[in-house]
């Protein structure tokens, strides 16, 4: 039916990801499936996914310092967030959409459901998007988000974080995660972070201070590489249709 289908993805390591039910993260109790997931071998619908182009986004969309300006720049610590999207085989994932959203420097989101007392910044929207280049490289300019309180226990604070959404080339690679910042003492106390069982997996979510990319007298830089599922290079039994 098809000329050629790409090979299937390596199975997702469910012991590396957080479990659906993480009791210290209270909301997960009523929103986690109790029955096991049905494990599927990939077919065409899993190894394909939406294709985006530069026509879908605007040049300024990755510049959160300027993409919601109302006459000035946002308040806060100016940062460059950059890195590569690669797969488990360390191959670049080019031309894929990366979207981010975050609180402002005071820890407040521009969202009608966020009622934290820290003020809205009139010059900060808090979301951006970009496409990786041929090497899988991406970057954003933004401000470092603030920590903020949330209702889990009565005195729970989220570490500073930026939400990241990545597509990859197949829908089975679809991923949303959060990045944290090197040195933040709230990381160890956060039940959302600590839903991840392996400390090495937590480390993978912590962006590193990157002095070499910092722009002197302008912006501090953090590097955050994103790894998506890799795919087989050798086909044996149970081939996908068309291979």
């Amino acid at each position: 039916m098809t000329n050629r289908s790409p090979a299937e993805y390596y199975q997702r390591d469910r012991q590396w990801h957080p479990p659906a039910l993480a009791p210290d993260y209270k909301t997960s109790l009523s929103r986690s499936p109790r029955m096991p997931l049905l494990s599927l071998e990939n077919a065409l619908g899993e190894v394909t996914g939406p294709v985006f182009s530069h026509d879908d986004i605007a040049e300024i969309d990755n510049d959160l310092l300027n993409n919601f300006t109302h006459g000035g720049e946002p308040i806060g610590e100016r940062i460059i967030l950059h890195g590569r999207v690669i797969d488990e085989n360390a191959r670049p994932v080019p031309n894929t959409l990366v979207e981010i959203w975050q609180a402002n420097a005071g820890g407040r989101y521009r969202h009608k459901k966020d009622t934290y007392l820290a003020p809205i910044d009139p010059n900060f929207g808090g979301c951006g998007r970009t496409m990786t280049d041929v090497d899988g490289y991406y970057f954003f300019r933004t401000v470092k988000p603030g920590a903020y309180p949330w209702r889990n226990w009565i005195n729970s604070w989220r570490p500073a974080h930026i939400h990241v959404s990545i597509f990859g080339s197949g829908f089975a690679q679809r991923l949303i995660t959060q990045l944290y910042f090197e040195g933040d003492p709230l990381i160890a106390k956060c039940p959302i972070v600590q839903s991840i069982p392996d400390p090495e997996a937590v480390d993978q979510l912590i962006a590193a201070l990157d002095m070499n990319t910092t722009i002197p007298l302008d912006s501090i830089a953090y590097k955050f590489d994103i790894v998506l599922r890799g795919r087989r290079s050798t086909l044996f039994e149970n081939r996908l249709e068309g291979n």
């Binding site: 909301t27 009523s30 986690s32 049905l38 077919a43 394909t48 488990e88 959302i192 993978q204």
Partner: protein, 201 residues
């Protein structure tokens, strides 16, 4: 000691949180920032086939609608073709097959307009009955949940994925009900007796 394999590990998932809307569907959340919102037009103007609407709720384990969820859909066109170079077949100009939708914040109802897909190629020469691939993220969901929506007016009897579901009655959790001319109802239950079958793809 043995040689190191040197595979990297996939970046671990974290919940999309309560404010996923401003990041991924700001226009739908009432926030003007981007010139183009992505994912509101799944089929485009030239898609062939039957125009349909899909609506439903996502329910939590207590039976309450989840009002801060975001869903994404990935589907083939009426001829069973995915708009991706790996498929190798052509789609109508403007057909993307992908969309995203958030709920009404007051009620939790979500809905999107698209075309009914055709059957798609499965593994080893099998054919999969027409379906939408769905991906669900929200506060409290640590790893995005994958599932599928089939159609109650299609022949699903030979579908290889439905056939894998051990408890036959649970297959119904993946089948949408045609309500009137062009609206299919598909409710998703995160937990409980009617828990939807979720997939590890």
């Amino acid at each position: 000691m043995v040689q190191k394999l040197n595979y990297l590990k996939e970046t671990p998932s974290q919940t999309a949180g309560p404010y996923v809307h401003i990041g991924l569907a700001p226009g739908a959340a009432g926030f003007e920032i981007f010139e183009q919102e992505l994912g509101w037009d799944i089929a485009g103007p030239n898609a062939k086939g039957e125009r349909i609407r899909v609506e439903g709720y996502v329910y939590d384990g207590t039976g309450a609608p989840v009002k801060d969820v975001m869903l994404e859909v990935w589907q083939a066109n009426v001829e069973g073709v995915y708009a991706h170079p790996a498929d190798g077949r052509a789609v109508e100009d403007g057909f993307r097959g992908w969309g995203r939708v958030i709920t009404n914040f007051e009620t939790g109802l979500w809905g999107f307009d698209t075309v009914k897909p055709g059957a798609t190629p499965g593994r080893n020469g099998t054919t999969q009955a027409p379906h939408l691939n769905l991906w669900i993220v929200a506060r409290g969901i640590n790893v995005g949940l994958s599932t599928r929506m089939y159609f109650d007016d299609s022949d699903n009897s030979a579908d290889p994925v439905l056939g894998l579901i051990e408890q036959a009655h649970r297959r119904d959790t993946l089948i949408a009900t045609r309500q009137n001319d062009d609206i299919y109802r598909f409710d998703i239950h995160l937990q409980g007796d009617a828990e939807t079958v979720f997939l590890d793809i």
